[in-house]
């Protein structure tokens, strides 16, 4: 094992197809038109000294080390800013250039600490490398002149330090913040000798608007910006390529290691999803994996009121199996079930659902996608024929219009959010449909063309109004519809959507969005070039979540914005493997590959391979499991890597359901909130210990490789196999690769996937089969998966959850950049520096009416319960709407959310809860209304 060092070509690749021929140091080389001399040389294996250039950023031309001589041209141009030209003859090494470079280095080093041996960058410092390359042997200016060596170090950020004494003011950090991340938090302050890098208004990194993505640290050529872990541990000695376990972007990382200790996580340049970028979670918040709270031994207890007892794996598995079998003997085989985890690998998920179907003998398996993107599965399958986003992330680079609905990608999918912002800065127009003024509405160098600031719960009215404008103003792409869509369904839909009740003017009173704004947005989406829809849980977590997904699919079809680069309908998936957990057959009605359990042919295929009869009836979904528990017909639950007691709505109802069960098995890293109701705790493994695959929001199957051995002594899939065997169904694999082989054998969209292939090719996007042996970055290119695209009728039906005199505000919930979902992981990292508690955002007018000041403790009450938290007055919120997150169990935001759910899938309506907010003198606590 070695440390992976990607080659840095100095400047970005040119997108040109035209090639030019030139000579560099006497060698004839060929390069794409527009390539810099520096990059052309690097591609030919010729290294030109440089400090301010790196290939993730545009050329800057400031360090003057990369000077070259060009035959027939005067002077010594910078090779980073000079493009290649046909017939050009370049020299990169001459006595004149050597003298110039040495002189430049002398100036740099005259104002730089000479502490290389004790410097944290020793062995990984470009300044050190360049001093070596140019043969620096003396500094004629001495070291006693004016300098910056006493400049104060900023160690406010939990993960990295900024030491201005070591800064060479190359501006790579500033440009990384601008070009790569798009936050514009860093600046080059002052002039001449007084020039310095400043975060925000020079208030320090933590207090500034820096989002701690790490791009600046990665770009820094010296020890100025340095990971604290490297300062503590020293340089890593080998790398393990793996995939982040946070959001659905699925960034590839190099886990840089010393033995089995992670020194740092560095985003991998060749990662298909992230192309070398990262966010604060993936880059830095991995310390939870070895946190002292972690439980690594199995535990059992007879009742949930007793203390836990550490036992052997054998005893824990035996205890669990005995209890589950006893429940089945008493209440019937359908009285138990399980929940698969979207944080776990495809292989782990596959064996859990297999255990439930084959060993438990029923289809009571569900997954956390139930509470996030299940409407995506239903809606896209009805309209397009398959349950997945249509594009790869790269596609956004070809978009002219971005329609972002109910998503806040700069917080929840930060690496893709940065990519979107980059495209917007390059000229793409953006339409945001969201009750909140998110960063895509307004932030540095970003301003949405239209912000449709609708009332929570009125998405479908808006999407219908957009479609109404397109149809009634003659903006339908008739050629696309006639060629690609079911014309009978289209004709019916066209008549439906043309009805004046769907016009922007007619729905304005419902949505609160001015009709003219809706008309403008519809015209832009239909006529602005390549238009792409990106959406999140602000679409799905509604009583009409599935209707809205179908409404968006209608929009894409009617304008022909599907089936090529730059367009499409794209769910931004919440968890790292939520796409994969759905693909793997985690829903109670579907086997892997989204095939219904009642399909005799499909079921027979599984029955042959699994060697047992399978139930043809759909099983219980998560909310149904809770209801059935309270009703008495469901008594045992295996919860794999989910914290349903914190994440699911109406916490009191969930707690009552869990309390009623006779056996709850939790498999997790930590004793989470759900474990309070568990009888068996099976320790899980972190992503740094797993061997398997995750599938991200663009259907990209990425390898997850173990950086360290399992802290529990077992792989999670081994534990599942042990439990299945103890239940009477022997299930054995020798490796995770063997599980993937079975997945490929049973799942047509995964037919061509194997670990060997993924290891060779990096990643693959499903479907990978005979028709698409190299995978499918773009879906529905020549036709829809279902054949003809199906327009669905999408009448707006108001949610039953209404504001009232007693609960006059609407609460909507979401996520913040630094924390992840229920916070199990991120609360155990330095990320608490940014978000130590959940906050209620409230409009200034609503706050003033209630006498609430910024930072006051308030009570948040709904018909279901009440909790307390601190208020933040924010004009990002519209009047009448409040917002909070659910990252902290002490707040228990889901105490107030209701049992309302999507009509098709039971996905909870987290985004609309009628509440009242009042001043409180209580510290945050949870109270029950039931």
């Amino acid at each position: 094992m070695t440390l992976i060092k990607e080659q840095d070509y100095g400047t970005p690749a040119s997108g040109s197809d035209r090639m030019v021929s030139l000579r560099i140091d006497g060698r004839t080389v060929s390069a794409r038109e527009g390539t810099s001399i520096m990059r052309a040389a690097a591609e030919a294996g010729i290294s030109i000294p440089r400090l301010c250039a790196t290939d993730s950023q545009h050329a800057y031309g400031s360090c003057r080390l990369c000077l070259v001589q060009v035959e027939g041209r005067r002077g010594t141009p910078a090779s980073c800013t000079t493009p290649v030209a046909e017939g050009m003859d370049v020299l990169t090494q001459t006595p004149r250039l050597a003298a110039l470079r040495k002189g430049v280095m002398e100036l740099y080093i005259s104002d730089h600490p000479l502490d290389c041996l004790t410097c944290s960058s020793n062995g990984d410092c470009e300044l050190q490398d360049m001093a070596g390359k140019v043969g620096l042997r003396e500094v004629r200016y001495g070291f006693d002149g004016a300098n910056h060596l006493t400049a104060q170090k900023d160690d406010s950020n939990p993960y990295f330090t900024f030491d201005p004494a070591k800064c060479i003011v190359c501006s790579r950090c500033v440009r990384a913040c601008q070009e790569t991340q798009g936050t514009f938090a860093l600046t080059l302050d002052g002039r001449g000798f007084a020039s310095k890098i400043a975060a925000g208004m020079d208030e320090g990194f933590l207090a500034s608007d820096c989002v701690s993505c790490g791009a600046c640290v990665q770009a820094c050529p010296t020890a100025t910006l340095m990971e604290k872990a490297v300062i503590d541990h020293g340089q890593p000695e080998h790398s393990v390529l793996t995939t982040c376990a946070y959001c659905g972007v699925g960034c590839s990382f190099k886990a840089e290691m010393q033995g089995e200790t992670v020194v740092r996580m560095v985003p991998w340049k060749d990662g298909g999803a992230n192309e070398g970028h990262s966010c604060v979670k993936g880059r830095f918040a991995w310390g939870y994996a070895t946190h002292s709270d972690r439980v690594t031994s199995p535990m059992i207890r007879d009742t949930i009121h007793e203390p836990w007892r550490k036992v052997s794996w054998e005893e824990a598995i035996g205890f669990a199996a005995t209890r589950l079998k006893a429940i089945q003997a008493r209440y019937g085989k359908n009285a138990i079930g399980g929940i698969t985890s979207s944080r776990c690998t495809n292989e782990e998920v596959f064996v859990v659902q297999k255990m439930i179907r084959a060993a438990f003998g029923n289809n009571n398996v569900d997954t956390c996608a139930r509470v996030c993107h299940s409407p995506t599965g239903y809606g896209l399958k009805q309209t397009f024929g398959t349950s997945a986003g249509t594009q790869d992330f790269r596609s956004v680079d070809q978009s002219d219009v971005l329609l972002v609905i109910g998503a806040n990608p700069t917080d929840a999918h930060p690496v893709f959010g940065s990519r979107m912002k980059k495209r917007i800065r390059a000229g793409a127009k953006v339409i945001v449909v969201d009750p909140r003024r998110t960063d895509l509405v307004e932030s540095p160098h970003i301003r949405a063309e239209h912000h449709l600031q609708l009332r929570p719960g009125t998405n479908v009215a808006i999407v219908n109004a957009l479609a109404h404008v397109i149809v009634t103003e003659g903006l339908v792409n008739r050629a696309f519809v006639e060629e690609r869509c079911d014309l009978t369904e289209f004709a019916r839909w066209e008549a439906f959507i043309s009805d004046p009740r769907h016009s922007p003017e007619a729905v304005e009173a419902i949505t609160g969005v001015p009709a003219a704004e809706v008309r403008g947005a519809a015209r832009l989406y239909a006529t602005g070039g390549n238009a792409a829809i990106y959406y999140g849980l602000g679409v799905t977590e509604h009583s009409q979540g599935s209707t809205m997904v179908m409404g968006m699919a209608n929009l894409a079809m009617v304008t022909g914005n599907i089936g090529r680069d730059g367009v499409g309908v794209n769910p931004l998936r919440g968890q790292n493997n939520v796409q994969g957990s759905c693909d793997m057959g985690s829903f109670p009605h579907e086997f892997s590959g989204y095939r219904h359990v009642s399909d005799d042919t499909v079921r027979a295929l599984f029955e042959v391979v699994w060697g047992t009869a399978l139930d043809p009836e759909p099983g219980l979904r998560i909310p149904n499991m809770f209801d059935a528990s309270i009703g008495g017909s469901f008594r045992g639950l295996y919860v794999h890597g989910e914290d349903i007691a914190q994440s699911d709505p109406n916490t009191n109802h969930v707690a009552a359901a869990l309390e009623a069960m006779e056996c709850v098995i939790v498999q997790d890293l930590f004793l989470n909130e759900t474990a309070n109701y568990a009888h068996v705790f099976l320790p899980g493994t972190s992503f740094l210990e797993k061997d398997g695959t995750f599938t991200n929001a663009e259907r990209r199957i990425n390898r997850v490789r173990p950086a360290m051995r399992s802290q529990t002594g077992k792989h999670e899939w081994e534990v599942t196999c042990d439990l299945a065997a103890a239940m009477g169904y022997p299930m054995r694999y020798d490796s995770a690769a063997e599980i993937m082989d079975e997945i490929a054998r049973l799942t047509p969209t995964f037919k061509g996937v194997s670990f060997d292939r993924l290891d060779r090719e990096g990643s693959l996007q499903w479907p990978v089969n005979d028709a698409a042996p190299n995978g499918t970055p773009l879906m529905h290119v020549d036709g829809f998966v279902r054949g003809k695209g199906r327009f669905m009728l999408t009448d707006y039906v108001a949610t039953e959850e209404r504001a009232s005199r007693f609960f006059p505000l609407l609460l909507t919930t979401g996520r913040i950049l630094s924390q992840y979902n229920v916070g199990t992981q991120t609360r155990r990292t330095g990320n608490v520096a940014w978000h130590p508690e959940d906050i209620l955002e409230i409009h200034p007018h609503d706050a003033e009416e209630r006498g609430i000041r910024d930072g006051d403790l308030v009570s948040l009450a709904s018909r279901k319960g009440a909790t307390g938290l601190r208020a933040m007055i924010s004009d990002r919120m519209p009047q009448g709407v409040v917002y909070t997150t659910f990252h902290h169990p002490v707040t228990g935001a889901n105490v107030v959310t209701t049992e309302n759910s999507d009509w098709a899938t039971n996905c909870p309506e987290y985004k609309v809860t009628a509440v009242q907010v009042t001043l409180s003198n209580q510290t945050p606590q949870v109270t029950a209304a039931e």
Binding site: P588, H589, E617, R621, D627, V797, A904
Partner: protein, 71 residues
């Protein structure tokens, strides 16, 4: 299963398909509930309909007409 929950869920399904012609809506409601509801939930719905289905959307009742009592 809690009957209020079953009524709410079934009526929501009917609420979506109401946009379609009635015969199509009834067929889609039947198909949807058969595809996604566990048998005990369907049995609960049958029981509600057999009891008159007063709180159920008429489309739901049409989708699951009471079964003739055997024997």
């Amino acid at each position: 299963m809690d009957s209020a929950d079953l009524v709410r869920m079934a009526n929501q399904i009917a609420g979506y398909f109401r946009a379609y012609p009635e015969d199509e809506a009834v067929a889609e409601i039947t198909q949807h509930i058969r595809s996604f509801w566990d048998p005990r939930m369907r049995q609960g719905l049958d029981a509600l309909i057999a009891a008159g289905g007063a709180e159920l959307d008429p489309l739901v009742c049409k989708a699951f007409p009471p079964r003739p009592v055997s024997g």
